[in-house]
């Protein structure tokens, strides 16, 4: 059970940190999604920053101390995401979810509703176990989460570089064809 709790901690922390860091890189894009959900234009940028701060704090909180405020923050965020999904489903236009950055293509709605019971289940497991590893282990946990995230990102960057190399070559050949 402790291993399961550890795995849940790692996954939930990674998801929250990933989402928070990606949104922090493109606050305007996230604020635009909030506006589409009906948040007033003046409030959207402020709310966007609050959500980002909450995600990052909750992600770090899961690693450093599974306390009541952390659990409350995670539950609150999951509920807020599900509510956003519900609102998006009721809107006539498709709202693109910028949950994990500005380049997301999935629509906001069903995914967030499906994720809610998973988040709550994860929170229940963490609360029942309440892992309190020593400080050195917590630093290691952060390193594991961060290295996992960085590895996935590096793999994506290498893939993007490979595709760009093909694009560069294709563009060069196409240029020759256009300038005949």
């Amino acid at each position: 059970m402790r291993s399961l709790a550890l795995a849940v901690t790692l996954v939930m922390a990674a998801l929250l940190l990933w989402a928070g860091l990606e949104k922090a890189r493109a606050v305007k894009s996230f604020a635009s999604v909030l506006r589409q959900l009906g948040v007033p234009a003046a409030t959207a940028p402020v709310l966007a920053r609050i959500v980002i701060a909450l995600e990052l704090s909750a992600g770090l909180g899961l690693i450093y101390s599974v306390s009541l405020p952390t659990i409350t923050a995670v539950t609150g965020l999951a509920t807020a995401f599900a509510c956003a999904g519900l609102i998006a489903l009721r809107r006539p236009q498709r709202i693109v979810c910028s949950c994990f950055g500005p380049y997301g293509t999935r629509a906001l709605g069903r995914d967030q509703l499906i994720a809610l019971p998973l988040w709550l289940g994860g929170v229940a497991i963490l609360w029942s176990q309440r892992l309190m590893p020593p400080m050195t282990s917590r630093a290691s946990l952060l390193a594991v989460v961060a290295l996992g995230m960085a590895s996935m990102r590096v793999a994506a960057a290498v893939h993007a570089a490979y595709v760009a190399h093909g694009d560069r070559r294709s563009a060069r050949e196409m240029y020759l064809w256009l300038n005949r």
Partner: protein, 192 residues
């Protein structure tokens, strides 16, 4: 000390995560710019008129093509720059299902072209045709290169310009083969 180092590793990894995100975003922006400029694999369909549905051999192409289930006939010219880029990408070997017709000004220019890109009748599996007099192109009514003709069940069905090697690779017929070990095949033979 160990704790500080581990923490530093974690923070640096998060920094790498953020930086790689920026790099990926830049790659996407560049791709968008290329797409807007229309310089990414933009092929044009060639109107075949009465050439559609004819046998390749009717235009002076090898009769072996009349029996091909699926093939691409790529017409290159020694005078077009993209043709040189495409030929350079073959690395002396033609992919399965690809036939190349080289339209050349003279036998000498054809030889130079083939030598430059290490294309020989052996390395290309006999799927290289040199059209010095322009007989094939004239029979088809071809005025532009590089152009790829799609052959299905021994007949020419359509044609497109080939702006890049990547586009050519994407339209090549893919053969799907069963991967069975020789031992399995032997067993079946014994049973029979």
């Amino acid at each position: 000390m160990a704790q500080s180092l581990t923490l530093a590793v974690g923070v640096l990894a998060l920094l790498i995560f953020a930086l790689c995100g920026v790099v990926i975003e830049l790659f996407r922006d560049v791709r968008q710019l290329r797409e807007i400029n229309g310089i990414l694999d933009r092929p044009l369909e060639v109107d075949l008129e009465d050439v559609a549905g004819t046998f390749p051999s009717a235009h002076g192409l090898p009769t072996g093509l009349d029996a091909a289930a699926a093939a691409i006939i790529l017409v290159l010219s020694d005078r077009c720059a993209t043709c040189h880029a495409l030929a350079g990408g073959f690395n002396g070997v033609l992919s399965p299902g690809l036939w190349v017709v080289l339209e050349a000004r003279s036998p000498r220019s054809a030889e130079e072209f083939l030598a430059r890109y290490e294309l020989t009748s052996t390395s290309t599996g006999g799927r290289l045709i040199v059209d010095v007099a322009g007989r094939i192109a004239e029979s088809i009514g071809l005025r532009t290169t590089p152009v790829g003709f799609r052959v299905r069940e021994g007949r020419i069905v359509s044609a497109t310009t080939i702006p890049s090697l990547r586009y050519l690779t994407s339209i090549l017929p893919n053969r799907v083969r069963l991967e069975r070990s020789p031992a399995t095949r032997m067993k079946e033979r014994v049973r029979v």
